[in-house]
C-alpha cells in the first residue's frame, strides 16, 4: 500500500488541487452566476505564491496574498459585470482570464515574461493539501445546506421568486463570485507549490475547458460532485495509461472523450447524481427485500 501512495503522491496532490479549482467554478455555477473567473484567479493565486516565494516570504503568507488578491479582483469584477447573466457573464469572465494571461506575459521580470516563474522553493505535503481540501469542502458543505442552501437554489433558478421572499440575489451572487475567486486563488497557490512552476498559460482556455468538464461530469449541483469530477478527470490521463494496454499512450484521450460524452448524456446530474440514484435504488431494493 505504501508504494501505491508514494508512487501516486503527485497524482493525489493533483486531484486535491484540481478539486479546489473545480470548487471555484462550482460555487458560482451553483449560485446561478455562470462565471469562470475562478480560472483567472487560479493563475493570480499561483503567481502571488511564486512572487512572494521569490521574495523569501513564508508560503502561508504567499497563499494568503493569493487568496486576498483574487478575492479583491473578483469583487471588483462582480461589481463591473453585475448586469450580465448566463453565457454573457461566462464570456466576459473568459475574456478577463485571457487578459490576465496576457498581463502575465507582459509583466516583465516581475512575472517572468513568457516563461513564467520556475524553481519555486515553497513545498506542501500531501497531508496539508488534503487538510485544506477537507476544510474548504466543509465550508462548501455548510454553504449548501440549511437556509443558505435553499436560498442559493432559488437565486439560481428563479430570481423574481427570490426577491418576493426577501432574498437579495445580487449580494448573494456577489458573495459566491468573491468566494469562487478566493478558492480559485487558493487552488492556484497550492498548484504552484505542488508543481514548482507557474506560467502565463495557467489562465488559458484549455484550463477553462478542464474546469468546466470536471464540474459538469461530477455534478455541478453540489461540492461533492465537483470533487468526484476532479478525481475522475485528473485520474483518467494517468490511470488509462497504467493498465499496460498496448497503444493506450496514443488512444487514451479517445476513451477519455467517450467517457465524458457518456456521462454527459446518460447521467443528467453527473456522477454524483448517478451515485445518488444508485444509492436510492439500492435502498429501495433493500427495503423491498426486507418487506418481501
Amino acid at each position: 500500500m505504501l508504494n501505491f501512495f508514494s508512487s501516486n503522491e503527485i497524482l493525489l496532490q493533483t486531484i486535491a488541487v484540481f478539486s479546489l479549482l473545480a470548487f471555484s467554478v462550482q460555487i458560482s455555477l451553483r449560485a446561478g452566476a455562470f462565471s469562470l473567473a475562478g480560472v483567472g484567479c487560479w493563475a493570480i493565486g499561483g503567481y502571488s505564491l511564486a512572487i512572494s516565494d521569490r521574495h523569501d516570504m513564508h508560503p502561508v503568507i504567499g497563499v494568503l496574498i493569493g487568496i486576498v488578491v483574487s478575492a479583491i479582483i473578483s469583487y471588483l469584477l462582480a461589481l463591473l459585470l453585475v448586469r450580465l447573466r448566463g453565457l454573457y457573464l461566462g464570456m466576459a469572465t473568459i475574456a478577463f482570464n485571457q487578459m490576465v494571461g496576457i498581463a502575465l506575459i507582459h509583466g516583465g521580470d516581475f512575472t517572468g515574461g513568457e516563461l513564467g516563474i520556475y524553481g519555486i522553493g515553497a513545498r506542501i505535503s500531501t497531508f496539508q493539501l488534503f487538510a485544506v481540501l477537507a476544510l474548504v469542502s466543509f465550508l462548501l458543505w455548510a454553504l449548501e445546506r440549511g437556509m443558505l442552501g435553499r436560498a442559493y437554489n432559488i437565486v439560481r433558478d428563479d430570481e423574481p421568486l427570490a426577491a418576493s421572499l426577501g432574498i437579495d440575489s445580487e449580494s448573494m451572487r456577489r458573495f459566491a463570485f468573491v468566494l469562487s475567486g478566493a478558492v480559485g486563488g487558493l487552488a492556484g497557490a497550492l498548484n504552484a507549490m505542488m508543481l514548482g512552476i507557474v506560467s502565463p498559460t495557467d489562465a488559458d482556455f484549455p484550463v477553462i475547458v478542464i474546469a468546466l468538464t470536471m464540474v459538469i461530469v461530477g455534478g455541478y449541483h453540489s461540492w461533492l460532485g465537483a470533487l468526484i469530477g476532479a478525481a475522475l478527470i485528473q485520474w483518467l490521463p494517468i490511470g488509462l495509461q497504467s493498465f499496460g494496454i498496448e497503444g493506450m499512450s496514443e488512444w487514451w484521450s479517445v476513451v477519455y472523450g467517450l467517457l465524458i460524452l457518456f456521462i454527459a448524456v446518460y447521467m443528467p446530474r453527473g456522477l454524483l447524481g448517478g451515485l445518488q440514484r444508485l444509492g436510492s435504488l439500492m435502498a429501495r431494493r433493500h427495503q423491498d427485500f426486507r418487506e418481501a
Binding site: L139, A142, L143, G146, M147, L148, R150, A151, N153, I154, D157, D158, P160, L161, A162, A163, S164, L165, G166, I167, D168, S169, S171, M172, F175
Partner: protein
C-alpha cells in the same frame, strides 16, 4: 390576540382614519409610451381582504408588480405602514412584510413541500449578510429547528401537514397553490398579494381557497386578491377596487362596485340604458 371582526352588512363602518397599511398616491406606470397605470391613488387599512378587479389589460398585474416593487414605477408614491418604499428594490419590499404569489405556480421542484415552506420561514434570517449565516453552525442548527416549526404551522393552516415530505410535482394544482400560500404565511407577512390564485381551478378547489383566505383575513392578515371570478370576489372580499385602462374607476364593497355603471361598461363594453 386578534379581534375577530364579524362579517356583516355594517363592515363599511370600520374607522378608515387609523394609519393605513398601504397608501398609494398617483401611481403611474408607462412602458415607453404605453400607459399601464394612470395616477392610481388608494389606501388600504390593515385587517381586510381587498379585491382588485378589471378586464384583461386593465393594469391589475402591473399594479401588483408595482406595489411589490417587482415592476417599474414611473411616478407616484408608495407607503407601507407609514414608510415610503417607492424606490426600493423588490426584496426590500418583501422584507417590509409584503409577500406575494405569482400567476404561475413557482415552487422548487427539488425541495419537499416542507422545505418549500421553510424557505418562507427563512425570511427574517436571510436579511443578515451571507457570511454571518454561513459560519454560525451552532446557531444555525437551533434556527433550523425553529424554521421547521414555523413552516409546519403554516402547512397546518393550509391543511397540508401530512403531505410535508412529498415533492410539489406529485401534488394537484390546488394543493401546489396552498403550498405557495403556506410559504407566504411562513414569512409572517403584513400584506399578502394574490395574483389570480384560483385561475384554472375546479369550483371545489376555488371554494377551498376562498375558505382559506377568509380564515386568514379573520386572523388579521391583510390581503389583496386579483381575480376574474366575480362570485368569489363577492363571497370573500370586504372592499373592492376596480381598474380599467390603468385608472381606478370605482371602489367600495363588492356589490356596489359590481353595479357601478363604469364597471359594467368596462366589463360588458357598452353602457346599459339608464
Amino acid at each position: 390576540m386578534h379581534q375577530v371582526i364579524e362579517r356583516d352588512a355594517n363592515r363599511e363602518m370600520i374607522d378608515m382614519q387609523s394609519e393605513p397599511l398601504l397608501n398609494v398616491t398617483d401611481l403611474t406606470v408607462n412602458y415607453d409610451g404605453v400607459v399601464a397605470l394612470d395616477h392610481v391613488s388608494l389606501t388600504a387599512p390593515a385587517g381586510q381582504l381587498y379585491g382588485l378587479i378589471g378586464p384583461n389589460g386593465s393594469g391589475k398585474s402591473t399594479f401588483l408588480a408595482a406595489i411589490s416593487r417587482h415592476g417599474k414605477v414611473t411616478e407616484g408614491r408608495l407607503e407601507f405602514a407609514g414608510r415610503d418604499y417607492t424606490g426600493e428594490p423588490a426584496f426590500v419590499a418583501a422584507r417590509l412584510g409584503i409577500s406575494r404569489s405569482f400567476q404561475t405556480v413557482r415552487l422548487q421542484e427539488d425541495l419537499s413541500v416542507l422545505e418549500n415552506a421553510m424557505v418562507g420561514a427563512d425570511h427574517h434570517r436571510i436579511t443578515r449578510p451571507v457570511i454571518f449565516n454561513w459560519l454560525r453552525l451552532v446557531r444555525n442548527r437551533r434556527e433550523e429547528a425553529e424554521c421547521r416549526e414555523t413552516a409546519l404551522s403554516a402547512l397546518e393552516r393550509v391543511g397540508l401537514v401530512d403531505y410535508k415530505d412529498q415533492f410539489p410535482s406529485s401534488l394537484s394544482y390546488g394543493m401546489q397553490r396552498r403550498v405557495e400560500i403556506a410559504r407566504c404565511l411562513a414569512s409572517d407577512p403584513k400584506l399578502l398579494l394574490l395574483d389570480e390564485p384560483t385561475a384554472g381551478m375546479s369550483p371545489a378547489e376555488t371554494d377551498d381557497i376562498s375558505e382559506l383566505l377568509m380564515g386568514l383575513r379573520d386572523s388579521g392578515l391583510t390581503q389583496i386578491l386579483v381575480a376574474h371570478d366575480l362570485s368569489m370576489i363577492h363571497a370573500v372580499t370586504d372592499h373592492v377596487f376596480a381598474l380599467n385602462f390603468g385608472k381606478l374607476i370605482a371602489e367600495g364593497n363588492s356589490v356596489d362596485v359590481a353595479n357601478d355603471p363604469d364597471v359594467r361598461k368596462a366589463y360588458i363594453g357598452v353602457a346599459d340604458e339608464e
